[in-house]
């Protein structure tokens, strides 16, 4: 039996803006097992980043609020913890890597100091041990000149090096779960390859769970065991990585896969999904994807389908795969 590390159940995170409520995450259920890498894929505004911020409970600086659902980490309900207890989990048991390595490091402190801060807080090392640990972590993530880097400021490092520092910081307390939000999007291709390679190594060494949030299907194919596809705040399809790429069910997943040019595959024309991602102001009433879907039926415009298993662990939110009787009911 696989051990569940993180269980997000029916999470609803809403933002209260000037123009009413924005349902950024609307009933999302994602499970991450021990030692598993789960990819969360979707385009901008699909709620993938808000989901990760909800897990870390980092929404208080935003107008966002978790209105419903539960988030369980190793049996503990994260939403019931006090801010103080949560702080002991953040960075220690669950660590996060952000997209933009420049803004996630404080520009006025040296790298070493920022790393030591995390280490001292969670591992209660003294100053010397913390420094040693910091240098070791930097070596672990493959930074050359680790002893010098601890005395440098973030602006002295390149983007790839900063992202390595971020990973070192995230790994410093040996977290059980790593949430990586677009960790390589801001990086160059050859640097991205280095970082992905590093993340794979760190994962394989110690059965760590990773929740990898990305829009890049190539990264997903290389890194993930299971894939969750999100669209407009909902999970539209979930399956193991092979099924997603070999046998996608949801028209959105199909469209997404068809619209990416693949290296070495010379097509005259790419498939494309017509239209635009719906904005909160004009969210469709039924299936959120219906306005862009080539298979849309009458029922799709009326009611949002539920996320149902099509076979085994492959689930999909689409009327095409649901019981005919249910469709007739609507």
């Amino acid at each position: 039996m696989t051990e569940k590390m993180l269980e997000i159940t029916n999470l609803k995170t809403y933002f209260h803006g000037d123009d009413g409520v924005v349902k950024a995450v609307d009933g999302v259920t994602i499970t991450v097992n021990k030692g598993e890498t789960v990819g969360v894929v979707g385009e901008s505004g699909c709620g993938k980043s808000v989901t990760s911020l909800s897990v870390m409970r980092l929404l208080h600086d935003t107008p966002g609020e978790i209105v419903d659902g539960s988030i369980t980490f190793e049996g503990k309900s994260l939403l019931d913890l006090s801010e103080k207890e949560m702080r002991m989990i953040r960075g220690n048991e669950i660590a996060m890597i952000f997209q933009e390595p420049m803004t996630s490091l404080n520009p006025v402190y040296k790298i070493g100091k920022q790393l030591e801060e995390v280490i001292k807080l969670h591992l209660h090392y003294d100053k010397k041990e913390a420094r040693n640990h910091a240098v070791n972590m930097l070596k672990l993530v493959g930074l050359p000149r680790a002893e010098d880097v601890v005395n440098e400021y973030p602006h002295q490092l390149s983007g790839g090096m900063r992202q390595r520092v971020m990973i070192a910081m995230a790994m410093a307390c040996n977290p059980k779960l790593l949430i990586a939000d677009e960790p390589t999007t801001a990086l160059d291709v050859t640097i991205q390859a280095q970082i992905l390679d590093l993340m794979r190594k760190l994962r394989d060494e110690s059965e760590r769970s990773i929740m990898l949030i990305t829009h890049d299907l190539g990264v997903v194919a290389e890194m993930c065991d299971r894939v969750v596809v999100m669209y407009a705040g909902e999970v539209v399809e979930e399956a193991d990585v092979l099924s997603i790429f070999e046998n996608p069910k949801h028209p959105y997943t199909k469209g997404l896969l068809g619209s990416v040019p693949k290296l070495g595959q010379d097509l005259e024309k790419l498939d494309s999904i017509p239209g635009n991602v719906p904005t909160p102001a004009n969210m469709p009433k039924g299936c959120k994807f219906a306005p862009r879907c080539e298979f849309a039926m009458d029922v799709c415009w009326k009611k949002d389908p539920s996320l149902l298993a099509t076979n085994g662990n492959h689930t999909c939110r689409c009327w095409l795969y649901q019981d005919q009787e249910k469709i007739l009911e609507v």
């Binding site: 017509p274 239209g275 635009n276 719906p278 102001a281 004009n282 306005p291 862009r292």
Partner: protein, 301 residues
């Protein structure tokens, strides 16, 4: 022409954006500005001042300059809401009539300074190099003087009088506008859309006036509003010192000066003009603050 697929996309795009309401920058501005309570109140106050400035002499219950030696230095009463001064003139009427002078001096002097400063700032930012250096160094020199001292100096050369007050205030407003406009023009100049317009083949005049200048407009408007308050205050100070409006002109600063001798016996002679200056300057500053909060892209979410 357009192939069927793009046409189809277009149809869907049409569908999905139907519900987007039409909104122009002015509507957007109004939507945000309405939320600034204090600025709204100040705006209404400034609007009233403008009405008073236009119809001042017609609304005023008494003549502003005709002495009335029967009612000298009287306190507030129903007949004279703000009392009378040493010549028996109704202070309330004088304040009403004086509104036009203060607003006129404030607006015109800032306007002159803004026009010259904006042109210099735009030239400085757009052409850069030595043009920029010369303009900015001159501004630095002007900045080195405290505003009021500079104005006194200029009036010492030109001679006292309201017209010269306007010139003096506009001169020390020039570097202020030049610097602010230069700053925001530089940031607009480096945007991709200016580069894009350049790549179309646009001439410098079009770049400056159609793209860079509108980009600086919001900071000009904000600064304009804020500076009017300061200009009114400076004009009043100069008149207080006897360098601006000459008696019997009902200029607020001059009125303050007239009441100086009676400060202990009849404080209302100075109090009411002082209050008028205070409220007007405050209103312009609050309005400027509100405008900045709505227009300044840095604070925008």
């Amino acid at each position: 022409m357009a192939n069927p697929e793009t046409a189809e996309v277009a149809a869907k795009v049409t569908l999905s954006s139907e519900s987007v309401e039409k909104s122009s920058p002015i509507k957007e501005f109004w939507k945000k500005f309405k939320k600034q309570r204090l600025a709204m109140v100040s705006g209404i106050f400034v609007f009233l001042l403008i009405i008073i400035a236009i119809f001042g002499p017609a609304i005023a219950p008494y003549s502003s300059e005709e002495p009335d030696y029967v009612n000298v230095l009287q306190g507030s009463s129903w007949e004279h809401l703000a009392g009378t001064d040493a010549f028996g003139r109704d202070i309330f009427s004088r304040i009403i009539v004086g509104t036009r002078i203060s607003l006129f001096v404030g607006t015109i002097s800032v306007l002159l300074g803004a026009v010259v400063g904006t042109v210099l700032g735009l030239i400085s930012a757009f052409y850069g190099r030595w043009v920029d250096s010369i303009i900015m160094r001159i501004c630095d020199v002007l900045f080195a003087f405290p505003g009021i001292l500079l104005a006194i100096g200029i009036i010492a050369i030109l001679g006292p009088g309201l017209g010269n007050v306007i010139i003096a205030i506009s001169i020390f407003n020039i570097p202020n506008f030049a610097r602010i406009v230069r700053g925001s023009a530089l940031s607009v100049k480096s945007t991709v859309y200016v580069e894009a317009t350049k790549s179309i083949g646009a001439k410098n005049g079009r770049l400056i006036w159609k793209h860079i200048f509108p980009g600086t407009a919001s900071s000009i408007i904000v600064n304009f509003t804020m500076r009017i308050g300061t200009a009114i205050l400076t004009a009043a100070s100069l008149s207080f010192l006897g360098l601006g409006a000459q008696p019997p002109t009902p200029e607020w600063g001059a009125m303050l000066s007239n009441g100086r001798d009676y400060l202990s016996t009849s404080p209302h002679v100075t109090f009411y003009p002082g209050l008028a200056i205070f409220l007007t300057v405050l209103a312009f500053n609050l309005l400027g603050d509100g405008l900045r909060d709505t227009l300044d892209p840095k604070i925008k979410d």
